[in-house]
Each structure stands twice: as structure tokens, then as C-alpha cells.
């Protein structure tokens, strides 16, 4: 009897301890913190981006003064952490359409804010959350399109955030969808590129490669250009998804390419930018950028602006294919390059800062350090 009591006490103590630890474990997570790499979107007088501190920040695009900063928080559920509020990573660059900012978060929410004052218009889903969202948002007509890390592609109404349709694919999706005509093009980790009907979400065609896709595709002149983890850049026919050409490289095309003057400017993580003939995929030139490029470049006039992972900014003339160094920020850059007017906007992931740079004069116009 005495022994049984002692064992029972020990058992109760052990079970209680396990219970406490189970509750605590819900608060601890797995140790990895997704920080995000949102680019900057410029509209009217605002330069807007999602910060690594989980805020939607609107700056005056000419003076870097913040107009508003909205924390995008999420409420974790379960265990002893019920009700705990944490900030979220933001990977997709916000998009602005008809005076409304749409932004996706790693916390599994889509937010719509009025650009003017930064007040919330709607959130999807209203309760709970979707799986983490890395993909950005593509607005078109009266809908927006995005995908989650469970591989589901969604179409929401721009007006009220109601779901119009959803389409489940086979694996997680990180790439932002693009809309061209009646098709939503979205590549996924199931090694497939999907072309979905914009109104119903039904697949019109699919293309399958040997490896997953994570970078956003670019559509130009009836061709889909998309980089794959098999180290290839694929050119697919927009109408049926058939392969037009493929270009093999030594490393991943993480960044999306820029298409200009019949050429594909495709930076690679191997530290080179490959310039290809858009029709045939033939290599025209290779430019060594000294460091790998993960940030998607942007076209500014006759120049493609490229930022390396180590913060070196270059411009490549689309006709002469000559490269010029713009500046060296010496900070990590993964977020896509944004251009507006004569200005280039860079959001660094190290010492989180937004730079406004004039590439012509090679001067930094202003900087905004995220606190």
C-alpha cells in the first residue's frame, strides 16, 4: 500500500511535469524564425513595403518620412499560448490596386488596407489562418490571386475578401502567381507549372520538370519564362504549356528574369547574369556579378537593375549589354528590386533599410532604417 502510494505520487508528479512541458512546448516553436523579403511598391506618393518586423510601412517616396506603420500580427492558438500575439514574416511584395494595398503574410493571412490612411478594409480568413504564405499577390480585374504553402491556389474578391475559388496542387507553393489573359500561371514544389482558368480555377494546362519551382514566372509575348531548381530556365508556350526551349546553368535561377529588347536577363545564384535570346534560348552573353543574385531585377528605361546578395547594385544596358556598377550597399539583399520614375528602391535584409537610389548619378537619395 505504502509502495503503491509512492509510485502513484511519482506518476502524478511525472504526468504533471509532462503536462506543463507540453503546454510550454506550444510556446517554443522550432527555433527558426521566418523573417521575410518583401520588396517595395511605389504608388502615388507612397513607397510601401512589408518589414522584417512584421509591419506594413508606408513612406513618403520623396523624403523617406513614414506616413504610417501597421503591425501585421497573428494570434497563435492552442496550449498555454492561446491568445499570444506575435509578429509575422512578410515575403510577398505588397500590391496596390484601385487605392487598396493587398499583402500576404507568413502567418497565413491576406490583408487589404486603404492606401490613403492605412486602415484595414478586410482580412482573409477572418478567423483562424491559412498555412504560411510565401507567395505574393497578383491582382487582376475584380479578383486577387495567391497560393499557400499547402499548395492551394486561391482567388479572392477584391471588394470584400470572399473566396471565389481555390485549386489544390500537389505540394507547397512559394512563387507568386502571374496573370496573363484568362490564365493564372503558378509554379509549385510539385515540379509543375500550372495554368489555371482565371474564372473557375480549373487547370488549362500543366508543365512538369524534374525539380520544384520557387521563383515567380514572367510572361512576355506569348511565352512563360520560369527558373527551376533543376538549374534550368524554361520557356513555355503560354497557350498550351509546351516547352519552347530550356537553358541549363550551374546553379538556381531564384530570381525572376527580365525580358527586354527580345532578350532574357536571367541572374543566377552562381554569380552570373545570363543574357539569352528570348526566342531560342541561345546564350548571348554572360556577365559576372561577383556574387550570387537572389533578388529579382527590374527594368528602368534602357537598363536592367540587378542587386547581388551582398548588396552590389549594377545596371546592364539592354542594347550594348554593358554593365555599370551603381553602388555597393555591402548589405544582404534578397527582396526584389523596384523602380519608379528615375529611382531604384532596394530593401535590405541585413540592418533592415530601404534605399532610394538614382542609378544615373549613382547617388543615394535617401535611406530609411527600420527600427
Amino acid at each position: 500500500m505504502f509502495k503503491t502510494n509512492r509510485i502513484s505520487k511519482k506518476l502524478i508528479l511525472l504526468l504533471s511535469l509532462i503536462g506543463v512541458l507540453a503546454v510550454l512546448s506550444g510556446c517554443m516553436g522550432t527555433g527558426q524564425k521566418p523573417l521575410g523579403w518583401s520588396g517595395v511598391v511605389v504608388s502615388d506618393n507612397d513607397a510601401i513595403f512589408g518589414s522584417m518586423t512584421g509591419k506594413l510601412i508606408a513612406l513618403n517616396k520623396d523624403a523617406s518620412t513614414p506616413r504610417y506603420q501597421v503591425p501585421l500580427e497573428t494570434t497563435t492558438s492552442g496550449g498555454g499560448c492561446a491568445g499570444a500575439v506575435t509578429t509575422v514574416g512578410i515575403y510577398g511584395t505588397p500590391v496596390i490596386s484601385d487605392g487598396v494595398i493587398y499583402i500576404s503574410t507568413y502567418g497565413g493571412k491576406i490583408y487589404a488596407y486603404n492606401q490613403d490612411q492605412g486602415d484595414l478594409k478586410w482580412v482573409y480568413p477572418v478567423t483562424d489562418a491559412l498555412p504560411a504564405i510565401v507567395s505574393g499577390i497578383a491582382p487582376n480585374g475584380d479578383k486577387i490571386f495567391f497560393a499557400d504553402t499547402n499548395g492551394v491556389v486561391y482567388a479572392l474578391s477584391k471588394a470584400d475578401g470572399q473566396k471565389v475559388w481555390e485549386y489544390p496542387t500537389g505540394a507547397k507553393i512559394w512563387a507568386s502567381p502571374v496573370v496573363s489573359g484568362d490564365l493564372v500561371i503558378v509554379p509549385g514544389f510539385d515540379k509543375k507549372v500550372y495554368a489555371l482558368d482565371i474564372n473557375t480555377g480549373n487547370p488549362v494546362w500543366t508543365f512538369e520538370a524534374k525539380s520544384p519551382f520557387a521563383s515567380a514566372p514572367v510572361v512576355d509575348n506569348g511565352t512563360v519564362y520560369v527558373g527551376c531548381f533543376d538549374r534550368n530556365m524554361y520557356a513555355l508556350d503560354l497557350t498550351d504549356g509546351s516547352q519552347k526551349w530550356v537553358f541549363a546553368s550551374p546553379n538556381w535561377f531564384w530570381a525572376s528574369p527580365v525580358i527586354a529588347d527580345g532578350k532574357v536577363f536571367a541572374p543566377n545564384l552562381d554569380g552570373n547574369t545570363y543574357i539569352l535570346d528570348a526566342l531560342t534560348g541561345t546564350q548571348l552573353k554572360v556577365i559576372n556579378m561577383t556574387d550570387g543574385v537572389a533578388s529579382s531585377p527590374a527594368l528602368l528605361g534602357d537598363n536592367v537593375i540587378v542587386a547581388t546578395k551582398t548588396g552590389k547594385i549594377f545596371s546592364i544596358n539592354i542594347y550594348s549589354l554593358e554593365m555599370k556598377a551603381v553602388t555597393d550597399l555591402a548589405l544582404k539583399v534578397i527582396a526584389p528590386v523596384t523602380v519608379s520614375g528615375e529611382v531604384v528602391y532596394i530593401h535590405t535584409q541585413e540592418k533592415e533599410t530601404v534605399y532610394a537610389i538614382n542609378p544615373e548619378s549613382r547617388t543615394i537619395i535617401w535611406t530609411f532604417v527600420v527600427s
Binding site: M28, G29, Q32, P34, S211
Partner: protein, 315 residues
């Protein structure tokens, strides 16, 4: 070349590519990859592990002599230390022998953690960094990222059930390897240690992706098997015998003493004599009083000493 680059070149990159290659050849299962990897690492560390286990066994064997030394030189600490070192030397016991395999495993754990968060694409940042480590083997690029799912687990996230199993595995291993205590203070210390390590790993398992915790679990299971063949059940002997006798029909006899249970269970079948002997051999470190008390209180030094304390209360 800085230390980080050397680390990547010699440890991390080979581990990442090796894991991806293994996974490709194991039906894309990352769980099976971890099992095979654990066995390979354990085999590679076998010479060191064998040394450690042998040292543990010797340590268990000399506890009687240690106790005698303590009684003899209890008041002269310096003499006691000298005699203990002499005994260690004569018996071939290395006091640091147990630490080496543990220290060698630290870099493996760190590399495994770094490899897991990258190949399983735990966060987009982790996966992006993977490109710096990949060899130009086509199979590597075709296999990535690896599937997160194995049995009930998402190997990129922590798992409570697996954390419990890790804790349990570590506890069993700890109990098997801890030498028998020669006094009450040491008994308390070893009891604390046997709980501290499992709890520490339980917490770690909750804080890291379960791919790493799964490595700890498989490693503990392999360790238990290896330990059993070299040192036997160690301090788990009474529990092991209880379990064995339970399954062999001893459950009808619930006297509270493992020896009584064994005798009654073993006599008809005649099968437990060997394990009974083992149990008796372990009594060597206990004085006569403790031995007498243990006859009716569970069969270990620890239990015996507790009974001694509580006896007055019961009466």
C-alpha cells in the same frame, strides 16, 4: 579560408549531399535517411563507443572496491583520491573516456541540425542558403526539397510524442550506463543525473525540428542495444527482470520483491536462474543492513536506503 568555410566544406556540405543522395535511394523518405545515417554514424563511432561502454562496465564492477576504499580512507580525502586513482588505473577505467564520444557527436548534431533545416526547407531563408552547399550531381537537384513527412511526424517541426520518446530513450540509456551508487549521496546524484539528461533532451526535442529529435531517438535505441550486449541492463536490471517475469507468468505473484517474484516465477520454468544471479551480483555494494531491508522493499540500493529512512514513520 575561415573556420565557417572549412566547416561547410568538410562537414556540412558532405552531410547535406549525402543525406539527399541517401534519401533519393530510400524512396525519398527522410525518416529512413535519418535511421540509416544514425546507424552509419554509430558504426563510425563504434571504437570510441566500445571504449566508453567497457569503461562503464568496469566502473560498475569496481563499485564494491570503491566502497571499501571509502570506508577505509573516508577521513583522509587525499589518500582516498590517490587510492581511487590507483584503482581506476589498475582496472583500466578512464574517467574521461565517456566524454569523448559525446564531444565528437556535438559537431554531428550541429551539422545535422543545419542540414535538416535546409533540406526540408523549414523557412525560405534556410532553403535559399542550401544552394551554396550542393554538389553538381543531377540527383541532388532532382530530389530536393525532401519530404517532411515520416510516420505521424512533420520532420521540419517539433513533435511532442517524439520528444517524449527521446526522453524515455535517454532515460533508459542513462540508467543502463550509470554505475551503481556506493552511498546515499552518490545515489541521489546519479538519480538526478538520470533525470536531468532525458529532460534536457526532451526540451531540446521540443525546440528543434523533429528530424534532429528523430536522430537522437534512433541513436538512443541503437545505444541501448549496444549497451545491453556489453554491460547488460545495468541499474535497470530489476525493472527488466520484473518485465521479463511478468511476461513469463510472474504477474500472479505480486509480492513487491523482485527476488520473490523471480524465485516463484523461475522455479517452475527453471529459466530465470541466470538473471537472478545477475541481480544478486549487484548486491555487492550494499552493506548487510541494507541487504536485509531490501529483501522486502524492491531489490535496489536506492529503494533499500529509502526504506531505511521511512521505516520509523511506518512503525
Amino acid at each position: 579560408m575561415d573556420i565557417g568555410a572549412i566547416w561547410d566544406l568538410i562537414i556540412l556540405s558532405p552531410m547535406i549531399n549525402g543525406m539527399v543522395w541517401l534519401s533519393h535511394n530510400l524512396w525519398g523518405s527522410f525518416g529512413l535517411t535519418v535511421i540509416v545515417l544514425t546507424v552509419v554514424i554509430r558504426l563510425a563511432l563504434w571504437p570510441l563507443n566500445r571504449k566508453q561502454l567497457t569503461a562503464t562496465k568496469k566502473m560498475q564492477e569496481i563499485t564494491v572496491h570503491m566502497d571499501a576504499l571509502k570506508k577505509k580512507h573516508g577521513n583522509d580525502r587525499q589518500k582516498l583520491a590517490e587510492e581511487q586513482m590507483k584503482l581506476y588505473k589498475e582496472s583500466g577505467v578512464s574517467t574521461t573516456g565517456c566524454l569523448v564520444p559525446m564531444l565528437i557527436q556535438f559537431p554531428i548534431w550541429i551539422a545535422l541540425y543545419q542540414a535538416i533545416v535546409r533540406v526540408l526547407a523549414v523557412t525560405p531563408e534556410d532553403f535559399m542558403n542550401l544552394s551554396n552547399h550542393l554538389y553538381s550531381w543531377p540527383v541532388v537537384y532532382e530530389t530536393l526539397p525532401l519530404s517532411n513527412n515520416f510516420l505521424w511526424m512533420d520532420l521540419s517541426r517539433s513533435d511532442f510524442v517524439l520528444a517524449l520518446l527521446v526522453g524515455l530513450g535517454m532515460f533508459v540509456q542513462q540508467k543502463m550506463s550509470t554505475p551503481k551508487a556506493i552511498n546515499q549521496q552518490q545515489a541521489a546524484q546519479s538519480q538526478m543525473l538520470s533525470f536531468m539528461m532525458p529532460f534536457m533532451f526532451f526540451f531540446f526535442s521540443l525546440s528543434f525540428p523533429s528530424g534532429l529529435a528523430f536522430y537522437w531517438f534512433v541513436s538512443a535505441v541503437v545505444g541501448i542495444i549496444m549497451q545491453y550486449f556489453i554491460t547488460g541492463w545495468g541499474q535497470l536490471e530489476p525493472i527488466a527482470e520484473k518485465v521479463i517475469s511478468y511476461f513469463r507468468g510472474g504477474r500472479q505473484v505480486r509480492s513487491g520483491s523482485i527476488y520473490k517474484t523471480e524465485k516463484k516465477a523461475a522455479t517452475p520454468a527453471g529459466q530465470l536462474s541466470d538473471s537472478s544471479t545477475k541481480g544478486k551480483q549487484m548486491e555487492g555494494s550494499i552493506d548487510e543492513k541494507g541487504r536485509d531491508e531490501r529483501q522486502d522493499s524492491g531489490g535496489s540500493y536506492k529503494t533499500g536506503s529509502k526504506s531505511t529512512k521511512r521505516k520509523p514513520k511506518r512503525s
